[in-house]
Symmetry: C2
Subunit: 436 residues, 2 copies
């Protein structure tokens, strides 16, 4: 079995006006659907970041991928790593780029997109679910969390291609609770995360308290302001939400850089507050993991098969977290069902991953889904590993074609939340760290 052809489908997916410390989501998120077609007629698929950059990075390995044995992933990783610009560990820690957009991690993202497609092809060739090809699952169902966002009214898309939105405007504690109740009712999630760093900290503290009031301590709570706070503010929020966040929850990337988080940690611990700090901004690659441990700046690392380097890299991170005594959760970007199944298989083979994974899936709709049979279904907040080979899903090529059409019509080829914010909310808006 060799790879005969690599196919890339850049698509656009409607996305609502969600807010974060990075700015505002554009009406369409960009994704790329990847296919590897083998000499024996099997097609393996994956989903990764979209836009010109990711597509160019994938194009740059086409000649290496076509003709490759999909089992030979170690050699391919070594090849791709050798191509990568390797920078010093410290240089990779940054807070300005959305996780998954760091140019220094391009090679890990490109490898991941090919690796997952190869593993899907192998699974289809052998009639085995993907997670059982890489050592076997440690769980049959993967829990996800209700991933709440502040947002403006309306859904994704634009012009005559607008998606209805069931959540409306979410800019108050009451609206946060309402959206969470909607999501929990529809998907059955049992853990809750709020994307913060959008409103003044006191309002976000009030939102978390309102969630606890409504859902009680059985629903662990997280807040993630994406580095929007100073060290002082981070400590203040950590102290204010000590009861709410320490109960199976966490405080995620409150301020910039591992060193800043280490200071927050020291000050919280000095107050007898052991709320764990989680991160996918201060820790984005393996070089950061020992620093996170040494400084105690991060107790829980948010993995992501898309930018850490695929399923094997997820397992590697799980092993590292286990050995170093770190916790593990999972980050998400806007995505469709192929990515959701990738995240699910990845989580299924990571024993150290004990927190419900993030997912943006509730913010997308069936209009944009590219898999046969429509959207992946959740069971009590979990995605169940299907009893099907590989990832367990197939592409609906008509839907892929519609996504490509949308992509072609779009004037942008890169995510720019700051530009969207200026266009729609405040023409002078800039991302400032710390904002509060």
């Amino acid at each position: 079995m060799k790879i005969k052809q690599l196919k890339l489908h850049p698509i656009a997916v409607a996305d609502g006006p969600l807010r974060s410390s990075y700015g505002l989501h554009a009406p369409y998120a960009l994704r790329t659907i990847v296919e590897v077609v083998t000499t024996d007629g099997i097609t393996g698929i994956s989903e990764t970041y979209g836009g010109d950059g990711p597509v160019a990075a994938l194009e740059s390995v086409r000649s290496r991928v076509e003709g490759m044995d999909p089992f030979q992933l170690t050699a391919f990783r070594q090849y791709i790593n050798a191509q990568a610009v390797e920078a010093a560990g410290g240089a990779r820690s940054q807070t300005w780029l959305v996780p998954g957009e760091n140019p220094l991690d391009t090679h890990a993202r490109t490898f991941a997109a090919i690796e997952v497609a190869c593993l899907d092809a192998i699974g289809k060739a052998l009639g085995r679910p993907l997670c059982d090809l890489v050592g076997g699952r440690c769980r049959d169902r993967v829990p996800y969390s209700a991933y709440l966002f502040y947002k403006h009214a309306g859904g994704g898309g634009m012009g005559d291609d607008v998606r209805e939105d069931e959540y409306g405007e979410i800019l108050t504690p009451e609206a946060v609770v309402r959206s969470c109740k909607q999501m929990v009712a529809q998907y059955g999630f049992k853990e809750i995360k709020l994307k913060g760093g959008v409103l003044p900290p006191e309002e976000e503290i009030a939102a978390i308290r309102a969630l606890r009031q409504e859902f009680g301590p059985k629903y662990p709570l997280r807040i993630d302001p994406n580095c929007a706070w100073s060290i002082d503010t981070s400590v203040h929020v950590g102290e204010s939400l000590k009861g709410e966040l320490s109960d199976g929850g966490y405080l995620e990337d409150p301020c910039a850089a591992i060193e800043g988080m280490a200071e927050v940690r020291r000050r919280l611990l000095a107050n007898g507050n052991d709320t764990p700090l989680a991160s996918n901004v201060a820790t984005t690659c393996f070089a950061h993991v020992p620093v996170a441990k040494e400084t105690d700046g991060v107790q829980i690392i948010l993995s992501d098969p898309h930018y850490w380097g695929g399923i094997g890299a997820q397992q590697k991170l799980s092993d590292l977290c286990e050995v170093l005594g770190l916790g593990m959760s999972m980050h998400s970007n806007n995505h469709l069902g192929v990515s959701l199944m990738t995240m699910t298989h990845a989580a299924a083979v990571c024993p150290a991953l004990t927190y419900a994974c993030d997912t943006h899936y509730p913010w997308q709709t069936s209009v944009d889904e590219v898999i046969v049979g429509g959207r992946v279904q959740f069971e009590k907040g979990c995605v169940v590993i299907p009893d099907k080979p590989g990832l367990g899903v197939e592409l609906d090529y008509d839907q892929v074609a519609r996504g490509e059409e949308r992509y072609k019509k779009l004037p942008y080829r890169k995510r720019d939340d700051e530009a969207e914010m200026c266009k729609h909310v405040d023409p002078n808006w800039k991302r400032i760290l710390p904002r509060w």
Copy 2:
């Protein structure tokens, strides 16, 4: 595909009168050949430690293994770990037991024996070499080192079952060099390791210098006294052999415990001597790895699929070493061809493993080999990954039966190098640490 039957073959393998700080090798080493027979008639094999203890540990998981899907290794590892007596990290660091005999690592050894047999069965079912089932190889050929021992005259076996020995007595620098020349001529090894801790340090220093004199700096040199030296003596040897060991070589387990090695390291570095310290005694499990890093007591960890927990655990250790900036080599015990192929496939999937692996294989003979076609051949010091499914070797059942017959006749069921030493060399001999 399920496992229908687990078969265990305890065997005895003739072994020469090799010396180490543990004492004297008995005339026979004990091994266990493991088979898993699947419902579709495929047999996967492995080789592990021998004697009553390892067999009993394997028997204890028979009911879990029989009926198991060989792909579901993560779940099996979780099961077996839950059964294991878990001790605190510090309690596991010990210097008295031969690596692979620590009762606290029983679960890792038992898992490894089953994992390798399962992966061999999967490889045979899919027609793929084992190393290509677990992410793919990073090398096609695995280098081994000339693993030299001090020994008394004569070969292995006893009574009417004695093996001829081509090496004779090795108790002087000249004999060490002679045995090395024999081994290099026969196998083509390009790196050299001397098992020390047997003669007074000055004699072993002289042996290493004689090897350098004979082979020159293109043959990296190692010495491993298995903790026989005090910290002062370790520093003295490190200083005396600074030129010989720092040139791609290493100083392995000179003294007891990570803390002792950390002190040796500090004193060597203070003298501008950065000879790396290697270990498979102070570091025998994953809990030791962060300690090795933090204390800087160990720069190179000797892996071993047999007692670290199989091929997956080797990959995990390789990943850990890469992330933590540690070197990686491979330890060996007496073994036959099934283990040699296991070590070869394991090394093939570990990018961090950059030193030639240890092997006792030259000390065993074709009389005892249990694989079809006789002994594994070396090419220029390397074992080449065969273009055959699984491990690439099959059992010669007549030879296995002969090994079982030898085992049945033996009066002992456990390795005891101290007892052998008392019986044949010095009735009052005891292992003393530090001896020098």
